[in-house]
Each structure stands twice: as structure tokens, then as C-alpha cells.
Symmetry: D2
Subunit: 273 residues, 4 copies
């Protein structure tokens, strides 16, 4: 990889290069968010019980910019990312957002990490296991008022249409759906807790490895639990409302209808305590 | 295309099929939005002066659902779309959202149309013209309180880095950026008006057809107008604030940095009058 | 070469601008394809019977470049596109590729147009109609040996798993799938002919508008026609082999398994006559 | 509720579940590839010198299917993936493809792994380092004739237009480009070797962290090395042809033109020894 230094002489000394970003700005317009995104970076998640998980994140980092400053210093975002990526639990993510705010001398800093989270999942009858990926997004905002931590988890699952089951003489259309929950919470809520809520709200969970006895089971299980997209979000809303750690949620399901070329979707947002 | 009718006898009469969606629901949870999305549909835009433009939209349509109703009637969304798609100006889009609310017997209905909008654009020196596409998204919400119309327009443009220009002995890094403005407004604001604001905020506009004299012009024009991503959103904020028709905006620029593998971005949201 | 920067006086006349692309190249390496892509452009399709259809295409255009020429002239691609986009039937697409070859003075030219094609489709029982979109890609290559025309059409459809149906006491998992056929042919083969082949190879077609009697029909129809992804491509292969106009095909199905987070797929490529 | 369920009641023991996939097929059509894709899975790469790298792959696995067999056994693909994902060097990837062929009793098996590969990269003047991601795709095909290993690596880089530099009185348009090389080779060719070839063919490499002295350097370096998209692929072709380990390549560059809304691209494919 070419990291070799330059050949020619630099007519200006490093320290003499003007700091254009640091100049004052006369338009008097504060900027809500300025930063970098589209960064693909490996991260190591620190999980409960001392476990870790290596994954790859899409990263976005930004800060607010005061009305009188011309620009922010983009390279510092990358330096902070490099310093934190190897050890990221919830507390460290908050620290990372706080560090962005300090390094960029900003009123507010926002960090967004999107990554697949992997869970070993056993088939319901044979118990054969494999890894399933669950898309996760963490958004942490840090300001003088403290930090705001919002966790979003998505799961693929099966939905089976109650109307189709009721009106057809046999069978029922079913399909993959993506169920998502974005939550604010108190105490310790781990990603697996949300996955449990998501999967329990579907007609049936999906699995990486299924042998015939497993396939028989999931086929019948979905048929026993028909759910409209409306049922999925309502059942999920009930579960999250009953989970005393959750204070706010925004949930959705998108069903890739097997009888249409388009999708059905439903959304609910609630402050619960 | 197979549109042929069924072969077998249907044991139940059509009118006898149970209406599962219409059943009462006992969980007492209202749903914010339920509907369909992922629909690709041709539309004909009705423009000022009796002009029209044929394009293709990605469509999302939803309604709120009362706590005591089990489900909505998904097929009606498609029927409304079919009825309106051939003649869509701003007023008709509002009517379409209102019609969704009536047909689905809902408190609130939301319509979202995303489509490329095409403008003939002439090269700055030779005047040779070609079509440029500008991504547009219209979101209309209809409720008893009236309708809310939000228009989003994006434009590709050139940004040239002021710091790079200042510190380098020759040249300056520049790149394509995508500048977007989402606005609420009063009176008649057309898509072209927003495009003007977007392009005027960049270092230089981009063009479909450029001959050598044009390329010379845009190269030098960008070099004369260096702008950080911060400058682009501030200049755009100034222009939108000065446009008396605009009451609210959310603007952004994302710059596909030519010296990095990642992007720089900035965002501002303001209520202006 | 400008090594000494700024100043605003334009020292060179327009006609004096050097043609860098037209210079000789000394590396002696011919280029297979050089051109433009990522163009979004409205097109009007000329169909059989004098009908037309307005849609929006993603366009890619390229030519081969001789070993001794430094560069091609990118702006000419856009000029040819502008001249042809308003009237595009199969013959005109061939003419457009030929025109690219002439205008760019190349041995070979390639044109690729990807666009949604819309067909009015009636529900199987109620007959209620709506528009369905079918992704189409046309690739035309023009050379001294003549032109090569390859047509690709995709359709969403329903697949229902034979294993699941066989082993479960009730129900069967099913899902949306995308079936595609890329074909070379002689005579007149229209997009609708391929759509017929694609849909007839699935467990059931999908529809834009379905009322309850229709939903009952498609649910039962899919249950009566269980198909593995292997069955879909084999049935499609049989149909295309039997269609005397088809001389070559590459077909695939990708099934968005409702019991997994991943997809099943199958592919066959054959020269048939 | 399924009032009249399908077929007959299934009172079969688990071990008695019929093997539908294993049944004979009477259409006599062999399938080129059948398998699974859209799998997101963590992998650990085994690198030279005993190093390892954790990343996340998009995985596709398929086998050929004989004309007389009804279906393949999809769950076995996932089992093989689980067994190999934790230790994947080039040899293990070949073994994994061979294992797929054995486990699925197929004539041919194909494995495709797409993942970001991370390299620590130092800024050209200050030496400050950060991680850069390079998209990699490995495709391994295993048959009785042995295995075929094809490696594809992409890099973001800077391209600066020679024409723009030549005709403008100051400045030159430049932009990010994506340069890719897909290669077959003998001996040991590591990903870093290809990255070197890719970056050396651009006007300048891109970096994760750049301070002002670095930005001055890359701005001037790009200006000193203007390259058309044609130049990039020709220079890369020269380098790969000169690399005695490379036996075949397919290379491309796509430039996200800063003066247009569309991209320029070029491609070359060659058997070299």
C-alpha cells in the first residue's frame, strides 16, 4: 500500500499553512450537524460477561458548529474513531460521543454506528445451530445536558396472513418480514432482549439451519400464529410497553408480501414512561 | 401476461368471505401508519403553464388506524393510486391524500412520491443542451386539520475545497456533492425554484453535455468559488431564508470527497416564518 | 500545463483549446469499453401496434478504444442519447448503438438500457386492474459483424415449497421470488411474451390489486403448484426451449425464503438453437 | 382456520419425513448453479505471517445439480459455512469449495465471499494513520478438474482530468474513482499487492486521516498526475501484465465526475500468460 512520502520540496512550512476552517464566519448561521459518513470500519463490541464480538460498522460522526466559526476539523473525527473502535460497549460509545464533542469544541456531538450483530441460533427441533445476523444501529448524542442513547435492532421473521388463512380452503400466504424496534431505555437492556421481543411478535422466527423436522415445525408454527402487519406492531408495542426498562420506542414491520410485488408496512411511536 | 381466471370451484360465495381486517381489535393500540410501499408506478406530473412530464415514482401510502380496528384494507391504496397517477400536480397530490383518508376511513393519511424530475440544461458556453435528473420527494399528510405538503429536491453539483486551494501551490481538490432541500412553503414554489437555490449554493453546477469550452468554464468557475460543505449549507440557508415563500426548511449537502474514501456532510433545519 | 495559478483573463480562444483526448497514445493497449453510466433519463418506448410507453431508464453507453488513441469523447454519448430517447423500439435501439459506433469512430459500441416496464394486470377473480412493473434490461452491441440484441426481463412471483407442503400437517411456507430471463431471439418476441413464460413457471403470479376472492384464489393456486427454486428454473427452461424464437437464454430465480434470513437461487444458461 | 386441510393427515414420525428434494426429476434438465445467497456472516481471514483479520462477508454458495435429481439440500451449505468461517485463508477457501462439492454430491461447487478488507494507512506527510477499507470478492469454483480461484479487489482513489488541467487557466476538475482488478494468478499474490497496483494507477491515493500538510501534498500530487479514466485502466493493465504472477485480469475504473451527474468508466479484460 502506497504510504510513501512526497518527493518535492514543500514551499511552505507545515506550521505556516493557513487554518482556513478556523477562520471566523460572517453569515451568522449555526450548523446543526457537520461531519463525516460513509466510513466502513471494523469494531469490537464489548458485551456483558466480558464477551466480545468483532463486526464491521458503517460510521457517521458529526458535531454542531457555532455561527461564528467557518468550519470543523474533519480529520479529528477519524482519529477519535481509531482510538475507540477496538473496544465499544454502551459506556464507551457514550464516551466516544463525549470525546468528539471535546475534540471538536462543539456544543453537541452525534455518533451513529450501524453494524450486523451475530447470534448463534439453534433450529427448533434438531437443535442444529448457525449464526444469524441482526442489523443494529446505535445513535448517541452528547451535549451539556448529558447523552442520549438510542438503540435500533431489526430482525427478519415470518408473517402469515390471517385473512388468507381464513378465506382459503387450504394454505395461507406467508412471507419474510423485517421487524424493527428503536428504543430508549434505563438500566441494562441488551440486544438479545430486543431480538426476543421482535421474534415473539412475528408468526414465527427464522433460522439459519433448518432440517426437515425443523421445517415441519416452523411451517406449522407460522400457520398457528397468523398475523397481519398491524398485529405484529401491536404485539411488539404491548411487549415493549410491558418491559419496564423501555421509556420510548419507534417500531415498524415491513412485510415482503408473497402475493404482491410491493410491501405492507406499519409503524408506531410511543413515549411509555 | 397471465390474467386468466381460476379453474376450480370456489366453495364460498364472494360476498360470504369473512372480513378479517374489519373485525374489532382488543389490544387497544392505535397505529400511527399502516399501508403499502415499494411500489414502482408511472406518473404524469401536471406543471405550470399546462405542461406535463412523464416520470416513474416510488410510492408509499399509509393511514393511521384506530385502536379498535383490526386492520386496514390494503387493496384500496392501489386503487386510489391508479385513479390519480395520470394527472399529478400539487393540488391533485393533496386531493389524493385526502381521498386515501376517506377511502380508508382514517384520521390521517400520508402519501409519499419519490421520482426523478427532468430539466433541460444548457452548457454554460456552447449552449448545448441535455436532460438532467433531479431527485424529488413529495410528502403530503392529510388530516381533519388540513393537509401538510413537504417538498424535497436534490441536485448534484461541484464543491471545491477552500483549504486545499489555499494551501496548495497549484490545483485544489474538488468533487461531486449532492445538495438537498426539504421545504414547506406558501404560494407557488416550483421545483425549478429550489434547483436554482441548490445550484447557486455550490462551487459550480454540473451539466449533462460539456464541450471543451464548457469544461474550461466549469473548471475555472469552481476554482473561483471554493466552498466547504459548511459554506454550501450556509449559503443555501441564506437563500431559503430570503425566499419569502419558504416557511421551513431542512437542508443538507453530502460531498463525495476526492481525497478520502468517505464523505463530508452538513445539515441545517429551520423554521423561518 | 497550468502550474502557475489564478488570474481571470482567458488567454486562449475557444477554437484554440487543445484536444487532449484526440492525442496519440503510446502504451499500445486497446480498451474494451470506455464510456458513461449512471445516467437517469426519460425514454419513450415504441411498442407493437403503434403504442408507446413513457418510462425512465438507467443508461450505460460505451465504445471500444483503439490502442493508439488517448481518449474517447464523452459528451457525444449524451448527444446521441438525447437524439434517440424519445422514440425507442428494438430497431431504434440497434440504430442508436450503430450511431454511437459512428459518432465515436469505434470498432464496437455497447448500449445498455434498464427500465421498469408497466403492464396492466387484472386480478384473477374480480378482474380489478392495476399496473405492475417488470424490470427490463436491453443490451445492444454493434460492430462490423452486425448487432447483438439481448433482452432481460424480471418478474416478481410466488413460490411455495413442495417439501414444506409435503411434511407439514397444514400450511406450507411460501414467499416472493424474482424470476429473470435474459434471451437472444429471432423474429418478434415482445416483453409480454417473456413475462408470460416467467409467471407460468412460478407457483402463482403476483398482482397489484387483490380483493378477498382474489386472495383466496392466489393462496389456493400457489398451494396447488408447489415449486422449489429448481423447479422454477427448469419449468422456465422447458418453456423457453419450446419457444422457437429463442436461440439462447440465461435464467434465474431468487426466492426470498420466508423461513430464513437468506435467499435460495438457481441459474441455467443454454444455447438452444 | 383451515377447514379442509391439504392432502391427508400426516401421522408420520420425524425420521419418516419424506425427502422431496432427493426424489428423481423427469424433466432431464441439469441446473448450472443452485444454492443460497444474501448471507451476512462474520469471517476470520488467515493472512501471511500468521496474522488474522476479522471482518464480515456477504456469502453466496452454490452447486451444479444433475438432470435427474429434483433438488439440492440447502441446509448443508450453511453447515459448511459455519465450519469454515473462523479460519479462511486462500487454501481454506479452496477446501471449503471442495467440501461443498462433496457434501452436496455435485459435479461443481462455487463459493463467493465479498468482504471489506482493512489496511492501516499513513498520511503522506504527517504519517498519521487510520484504517482504510478495500472491497474484496473471492470466487472459488471446485470441480473434478481442480479449483479456480479468482480474486477481486477495489480501491477508492483520486482521478484528475488531463483535459481540464490543460484547457483551464487554473485548477482542474478531479473526483473520487473506484478502481477494481479481478485477477487469476499463480504463486502467492496478496491483497496488498493488488491494492498497490490499483493506487499506483490513479492520479493519487486517498487516505483516512489527512492533516493540512497531507492535504497540500495530495492536492499537488493529483495535479502532477492527471489521468483520464482511459489512462487509469491502461496504467493498471501495464502493471498487471508486468506482474509475473498474474495470468488473467479484468479491470475497470469508474470515475464519479465532479462536473457531471453521471460517471465515466473503462474496462479491459486480458489473458496475459
Amino acid at each position: 500500500v502506497t504510504t510513501s512520502p512526497p518527493a518535492t520540496n514543500h514551499s511552505r512550512e507545515r506550521q505556516a499553512l493557513p487554518d482556513v476552517q478556523g477562520a471566523p464566519d460572517h453569515r451568522r448561521i449555526a450548523i446543526d450537524r457537520v461531519g463525516v459518513r460513509g466510513i466502513t470500519h471494523p469494531i469490537v463490541l464489548s458485551l456483558t460477561g466480558g464477551r466480545t464480538q468483532s463486526t464491521v460498522a458503517q460510521v457517521s460522526m458529526s458535531v454542531s458548529l457555532a455561527a461564528d466559526r467557518k468550519g470543523t476539523h474533519m480529520s479529528r473525527f477519524l482519529e477519535v474513531l481509531g482510538a475507540f473502535a477496538g473496544d465499544l460497549g454502551p459506556d464507551r460509545m457514550r464516551e466516544m460521543a463525549a470525546e468528539l464533542r471535546v475534540r471538536l469544541a462543539a456544543q453537541e456531538a452525534e455518533l451513529e454506528l450501524s453494524f450486523p450483530y451475530f447470534v448463534s441460533k439453534s433450529a427448533p427441533v434438531t437443535g442444529l445451530s448457525g449464526l444469524m445476523d441482526f442489523p443494529v444501529r446505535v445513535r448517541v448524542t452528547d451535549s451539556a445536558q448529558g447523552s442520549d442513547f438510542v438503540l435500533r435492532v431489526s430482525a427478519s421473521a415470518t408473517s402469515l396472513c390471517p385473512c388468507s388463512k381464513e378465506i382459503a380452503d387450504f394454505g395461507a400466504h406467508n412471507q419474510r418480514c423485517t421487524i424493527s424496534a428503536e428504543v430508549r431505555f434505563t438500566g441494562s437492556l441488551v440486544i438479545e432482549d430486543i431480538i426476543d421481543h421482535l421474534e415473539a411478535s412475528a408468526s414465527c422466527a427464522v433460522y439459519p439451519v433448518l432440517k426437515r423436522p425443523d421445517e415441519k415445525y416452523v411451517t406449522e408454527e407460522a400457520f398457528r400464529n397468523p398475523k397481519f402487519v398491524e398485529d405484529i406492531v401491536r404485539d411488539l408495542a404491548q411487549r415493549l410497553t410491558a418491559d419496564e426498562r423501555v421509556t420510548w420506542y419507534r417500531i415498524s414491520s415491513e412485510n415482503f408480501e408473497s402475493i404482491h410485488g410491493h410491501n405492507a408496512f406499519a409503524e408506531i411511536e410511543r413515549h411509555v414512561r
